[in-house]
Structure formats: structure tokens, C-alpha cells
Assembly symmetry: C3
Homo-oligomer: 210 residues x 3
Amino acid sequence: MAIPGFEPTSMSLVAELIGTAVFAASGASAAVGKRLDLFGVVVIGTLCALGGGAVRDILIDAKPLVLTDWRYPLVAVLASLVVFRFHPALSRMRPTMLVLDAAGLALFTVVGTLKGLDYGFAVYAACIVGVLSGIGGGILRDVLVQEIPAVLREDFYAMAAVIGAIIVAVGARWESQIGHWTLMMIAIATIFVVRMVAIRYRWQAPKPNI
Amino acid sequence: MAIPGFEPTSMSLVAELIGTAVFAASGASAAVGKRLDLFGVVVIGTLCALGGGAVRDILIDAKPLVLTDWRYPLVAVLASLVVFRFHPALSRMRPTMLVLDAAGLALFTVVGTLKGLDYGFAVYAACIVGVLSGIGGGILRDVLVQEIPAVLREDFYAMAAVIGAIIVAVGARWESQIGHWTLMMIAIATIFVVRMVAIRYRWQAPKPNI
Amino acid sequence: MAIPGFEPTSMSLVAELIGTAVFAASGASAAVGKRLDLFGVVVIGTLCALGGGAVRDILIDAKPLVLTDWRYPLVAVLASLVVFRFHPALSRMRPTMLVLDAAGLALFTVVGTLKGLDYGFAVYAACIVGVLSGIGGGILRDVLVQEIPAVLREDFYAMAAVIGAIIVAVGARWESQIGHWTLMMIAIATIFVVRMVAIRYRWQAPKPNI
């Protein structure tokens, strides 16, 4: 993604690394809950953090970011180790984790959607790629620890990502007027707020009537 | 796939879209059975419909069809929504669903095998690609809803696909004599009939003696 | 991988085919244990044998080996059939299977790491690719038969692969002094010995304190 100027780039990098750490922590927590050992915790944490981006890069035929920038796997492994060591303290931070996870979802979805557009895919395709970036890692985590993926049960998780992806993919047509960063911030904030409000008010998506 | 002439192309497209709808309905039904909510039903339906093709395109290094033709995801989402809304009526249609699923398996396997050949892979490799196209979506569906994939338990599901893939991949050598559409129809009909007969007479594949 | 000279190449090929057979047998055994039928046993055996390499090739954007060399799927299918037919005899061979599985892990990890380097990836990235080659098939097997992947629970399985991958990826810088085959042998032997010792002395990785 060609982003001019130094500061925005490092801002984007920092944001993505935070998202990576948060998703690694969420994977590692799930692995601790299943009583896996040190390696299991690190592997699941890392896959959860990097899996969504890997799926994205494979679909758009980009070089997987995890294989070209060592900072992503490093951060993922470190975050997993921190959870392994300090998880009882961390589990008291569950509300904090939910907030960070929502931030990670927002960041990964928006960055993924923009990468899809950059690779020349149509608006709808970029949205699919972006949403998969955001939710892919968590799906991988849940499949590995033998749970039905939370994203399929938790209301307004995937939906928040879908809304944000549409905002950024459609808005990109007027990017020159809106500005790259304004657009990103609007989409990230929307996903984050929808997700937070959905948690706070326990929004329920409709269930099938059986 | 370069298919000359308008009518066959649109016939092929219609056939593939029907296959997509049928597989989406089968995924959505499984999700409804697990009491997932609206989003879960749509996500699993869509993955079931498009997952096999995505695996195929990733293996042969083609642009994923789902990202280049919006009709596939649209049909998948719509079919999932229909199941979500009308599933009690649909569940009374289970025999119909089995027939449609066999048709979807036949279509996806044959189209996938031909695409493998078009991308220059050997006969055996095109068969692998074709079979994975046919059964990949169902495997994904079952992994996500935490079942051992039906294709591994249900007799003569994968085997019907294997037979059809071999017919089309081997027959392609004499395509100029047989004709593209005749060959496709023979292979599709074979998969469909084998699958139907296997269901009707409850053909059992051998089990390991323990 | 351009390996000059006939003998080493065929040695490498034989080694890889043995690894393929062993992993197929391990997948087929798991499937027999779940009472799957003939096709289920063959499919899981084959995916277990070829899945790790496929993940590797997709990540580094190589043509999947399974689609370009028919010997790999052939060996995988044959090994699965042998297990299906003779598994009661094989189950008495469990210690032998553990030894062969350790050999397969060692081979696949080292070959995968070297392939990653050959495709121009950094040392750390080649290690990730190599470890995924070694453990990917087993993860796929366990996900399909609905178990939490053994590699996440069994101590010093993934870790043995990580150690060997690091040896070969770092050592490759001095390959001209050490020699290609010496380096491979050292790394393969290390993984194998670590794994064997870990089994023998029941090494335990630390568990999270809950």
C-alpha cells in the first residue's frame, strides 16, 4: 500500500502491530483456557494473529506479509508468551480485551479492504477480502481449539466488519476529496463503535425460528 | 475457461449458479440446525458455496472466481437468506435437497476438473483439483459447525466425484471427437446417477475391520 | 530445488516419499480409529501426507508439488490403503509408527525450510514455512477427525521442528563450507533425536498455571 509520508506510515504500522498483539492475546487466551502447553499457546496465538492476513494475501495473490516483515510474527509470539505467563492477571482484564479485540477487528478489516482495492479488485471483492482479514484469524483459532467459531455465534461481530468494509471500499471512490486518513478513521471508528454498542446493549441478530 | 459461443457459456453459467445456490442452501441448513443466528447462517452458506472453488483457484493459482464475478457471492448470500427465512418449509424438501446437492457436486467437480486442465495441469492433477472443487465447500461447512465432514462418512459421495473427474479428464484427450458439451454432460450425468443410486440403494463403502 | 547430481536427488526423493507414506499412514490410522469408511481413510491419509506441503507451496507461491509430481499422491493413497487393510497388525507397530512419524516430521521440516530459502524468503520466514510443512498435515488430519491438533498438545513436537528449521535456515549461510547434504543431515538428525528423546523421557512443556 503506497502511503506517502513518514508519520502516517509508522502510524499505520503501529496500529497494525497493536492489532496483531491483540489478536495473538485473544488466541493465546483461548489456548490457555483449553489447558494447552506453552507451544500450543504460542502456535494458536500466532495463527490467530496472522491467519486472517495470510488468508487475505493468498486470496489476492500477494506475498504473505508474515513472510516478508518479521515484526508481525515477533509481536504475535511475544504477545502469546505474555498471555501464557500473566493470564490470571489478564483474565481480570476481560473488558479491556473486548475493547482491544474490537479495535483489532476494525484495523484489520479496514487495512485488508484497502489492500484488496490496491490489488485492483472490485469494491465487493475488496469487502470480502477485508472482512476475511478481520475475522479469519478468529475462525482459525476456534477451529483449532474445537469450538464453533465465535464470529458465527456472536452477534454483530462479522456485521460490524461488513459495514466498515463497505464504508472504506465505497468511500475510496471519493478518496481524493475525503482524504486517505479521514476515510480510514471513519471506517475504523464505525466498526469499533458498532461492535462496542452491540456488546454494551447485547444486540441480538435474528435467530432462525425452529 | 474459453468456451466459444454465447449459448453454451450462459448455459454453463446458469448451471454453476444453480450449483452455488444449492451448496449455499446446504451450508445454511447445517447452520440453522446448529441454531446459529442470521450472520452465521449467511457466512456458512456462503463459505460452503464458494469455498470449494476458492480452494481450487488457490491451488492452480487462478484469480479466485468469487473475487472476480460478483454473481457467485450474490447468489450464495441470497440462497442462504432464503434458507434462513423459509427453512421449516425447506426441511420438508429434504429429498429435493439431496437431488440438488448431487447436481451441485456433479457440476462443480466437472467444471473444476476442466479448469485444472485449462491451466495446464496433468490429468491426475486436474482430477484432484476437480474433486476438491466438488467436496471442498462441504468439508469447510462441516469443520465450521464442528462435525466430522460428511464426505468422509457418507459413502459414495467423494467416489462419485472421483469417477466423474476421471471421465472428464481422460476424455478430454478425445474432446475434438466427442465434443466439449457431450463430454461434460456424460461426466455430470455419471456423477449425478452414481450419487443418486448410492443414496437409493444405500451403497456402503467397506469399513475397516476392528 | 536445484540439487546437482543424480544420487543426492534420488536420495532426497526417496526420503520425501518415505515421509509422505509415513504421514499418510498416520492420517489413515486416525481415520480408522474414528471408524470412517474406505474413502474417508484414503482422503484423510492423503490430506495428512500432502496438506503440509500444499500449505507451504501456497504460502511461497510455488506450484503445489502434489499437482506436478504424481508420485506423491500415489504413494499417499497406497499407504492409506495399506493401513485400511492391515491396521490391526499395524496398531501393534505403534512404536515403529512413532519413529517413522518423527522421521517424516524431520524430513518435511528440513525440505520445506530449504524450499522457502530457495524461493528467496528471509531466514525467519523460511523457518515458518518449514515448520508449517512439517506440522501442517497433522493439523489438517486432527481438524478433520475433530480432535484438538496433537501438535498443540504433544510436547516437543512443534519445538523439535522449530529447532531443526533454525539450524538449516541459519546454517545455509555457510552452506558452501558445510556442504548441502551435511547440513541437511545435521538438521534432520537433530529434529529426529529431539523428538525421540522427548518421547522416551516424556519431556513436558510448561503448562499455564490456572
